[in-house]
């Protein structure tokens, strides 16, 4: 086979697989969010949409929603800035989708005698790329808020820009520890480095070597994704629907997709950086090897599936955590958000950075 064509096919296939995976999760999670919220609140949740009388616990609701969004009138408010108003949802959605490019979703596989990384692009700047691209989403929100020509969206947009910028700082700093420990910003290497054991017992996952960093990163991620308890930009009690108040039809659904994509991608990054990505605990290339020497061999195909499954499972769990947290914790007040960001998160992440460096420089390592 023509190597160039093969590369192309592989590249397209990887993009397709990753995109399909994330989009499916996005769709499923709109349902999970509603149904989960309902059950948490002793309600029944969506259960009306039916195809041929089959209700399937409301699983058709995302489809019905999508159809509704597609067929609704594409409305542009009179006062809106027409160009920016239309660009804004793209700015919100596109960068989030782009971040999936660098996430390794499985170990390298050998196909037709060639080693293929299960990652769309194994950039050497890895995580920095994620920061750079996801930093763009703030433009979507701010543009949407400003171009709507309405006061609630504007307030929502301003809030979210302040909030996202603030937490971006702590988010970046909280990851520094990870880079220092694993000596890389390339995600594939970070995942590979998490395959080992810590003190011979624990998997050498980021969460175990950087517990504080994990907590800080988790919190910062929620703030970045504008999810509860940091969903002030669309705090409906005070801002109607925040920056997307004036949006309807498919443009609104793009904002919704961006939010859920953010959740999925955030979950993927979290699992990659702190939970070993596709690593399965105590699973080596050839089989399980438990601490203490016990273990058994497994066929490579099963190992591969276990590892992919491990990644999928982690992503699903952390995406669910977003939902779970949303229906558990009430929204912060705006000043609380800012205080937490600047007075707690930032000093703590700096302290974490300092402590990590200190430990790494301790003699005897």
């Amino acid at each position: 086979m023509n190597p160039a064509l093969f590369d192309l096919v592989v590249a397209v296939a990887r993009i397709a697989v990753m995109l399909a995976f994330c989009l499916t999760l996005v769709v499923v999670f709109t349902w999970v969010e509603r149904k989960g919220a309902a059950y948490i609140q002793d309600r029944r949740g969506p259960n009306r949409a039916a195809i041929f009388g089959i209700r399937a616990w409301g699983l058709f609701h995302p489809m019905a929603d999508a159809l509704k969004f597609l067929f609704k009138e594409d409305f542009i408010p009179d006062r809106a800035h027409r160009l920016f108003y239309q660009i804004a949802p793209m700015f919100a959605l596109a960068p989030v989708i782009m971040t999936i490019a660098v996430i390794p979703f499985g170990p390298d596989v050998t196909l037709f005698g060639r080693r293929i990384a299960l990652q769309i692009a194994d950039l050497n700047v890895g995580i920095l790329y994620i920061f750079a691209v996801s930093g763009m989403t703030v433009y979507g929100v701010v543009l949407a808020g400003w171009s709507s020509g309405s006061k609630y969206p504007l307030l929502g947009g301003l809030r979210s820009s302040a909030q996202m910028l603030s937490y971006e700082v702590s988010m970046g700093l909280s990851l520094m520890g990870i880079f220092m420990v694993f000596q890389s910003v390339r995600l594939s290497q970070i995942v590979a480095a998490q395959g080992g054991l810590l003190f011979g017992v624990l998997p050498k996952w980021g969460v175990f070597v950087q517990p504080l960093g994990f907590v800080l990163f988790l919190v910062a991620q929620y703030a970045e994704a504008n999810r509860t308890p940091f969903d002030l930009p669309e705090g409906e009690s005070e801002l109607v629907a925040g920056y997307h108040t004036e949006y309807g039809s498919f443009k609104f659904s793009m904002f919704m997709m961006a939010e859920y994509f953010h959740m999925v991608v955030g979950a993927a990054i979290l699992s990659t950086l702190f939970f070993g990505g596709w690593q399965f605990p105590y699973l080596g290339d050839t089989g399980f090897l438990f601490p203490g020497g016990a273990g058994f061999a497994l066929p490579p195909a099963l190992v591969f599936l276990l590892r992919i499954g491990s990644f999928v499972g982690k992503v699903v769990f952390f995406a669910w955590l977003y939902v779970w947290v949303r229906w558990t914790i009430p929204r912060f007040r705006y000043d609380q958000v800012m205080r937490l960001g600047w007075k707690m998160m930032l000093p703590l992440s700096l302290a974490n950075l300092f402590a990590t460096g200190l430990i790494l420089l301790l003699p005897g390592r």
């Binding site: 059950y39 948490i40 779970w324």
Partner: protein
């Protein structure tokens, strides 16, 4: 009789672990997860009423949508005396009286419309009716509809129930 004194919990200073929130958040997550699992396994805890299929039983004195009563022979009991229309504070009842072919009935409503969009469900029409011809004991609300005309209930609609 002594009036008891009940201690009311006052907000207190948070301890350090509490002020970190981490443990408290995990506790909260436990509560919500507990609710969710319980509701998935057993449905009894779910408060939602599946409205059109399941309907709440209204208390007997609930003032619901109106109905007009019939005589044993099926003709409306209403004699178009206009007492309800007179009593109605919302002026939502429109009656047009007509001469009944039955001299024992004499007067009957040719039209009897209740504008449900105007009705305030005060029940004064029921109080005013000298013939017990109008009642509000259907135990049900005005169902929603998609046009104003459909929500002006005519005599046929009111006699249905």
């Amino acid at each position: 009789m002594t009036i008891g004194i009940r201690k009311v919990a006052r907000p207190r200073e948070m301890t350090f672990p509490e002020s970190l929130y981490l443990v408290e958040i995990v506790k909260g997550l436990g509560v919500t997860m507990g609710h969710m699992l319980r509701n998935i396994v057993r449905q009894e805890g779910i408060m939602t009423m599946e409205y059109p299929e399941v309907r709440r039983r209204m208390p007997p004195r609930f003032r619901g949508r109106h109905r007009l009563m019939r005589r044993p022979d099926g003709s409306p009991r209403c004699v178009a005396c206009y007492c309800c229309a007179t009593a109605c504070p919302a002026k939502c009842i429109t009656i047009v009286a007509g001469e009944s072919p039955d001299p024992a009935v004499e007067k009957y409503p040719v039209r009897f419309d209740i504008d449900m969009l105007r009705c305030v469900f005060c029940g004064l029409c029921v109080e005013a009716c000298p013939c017990d011809a109008i009642r509000m004991d259907t135990g049900w609300f005005t169902p929603p509809d998609d046009s104003r005309e459909k929500l002006i209930f005519t005599i046929d609609v009111l006699l249905e129930k």
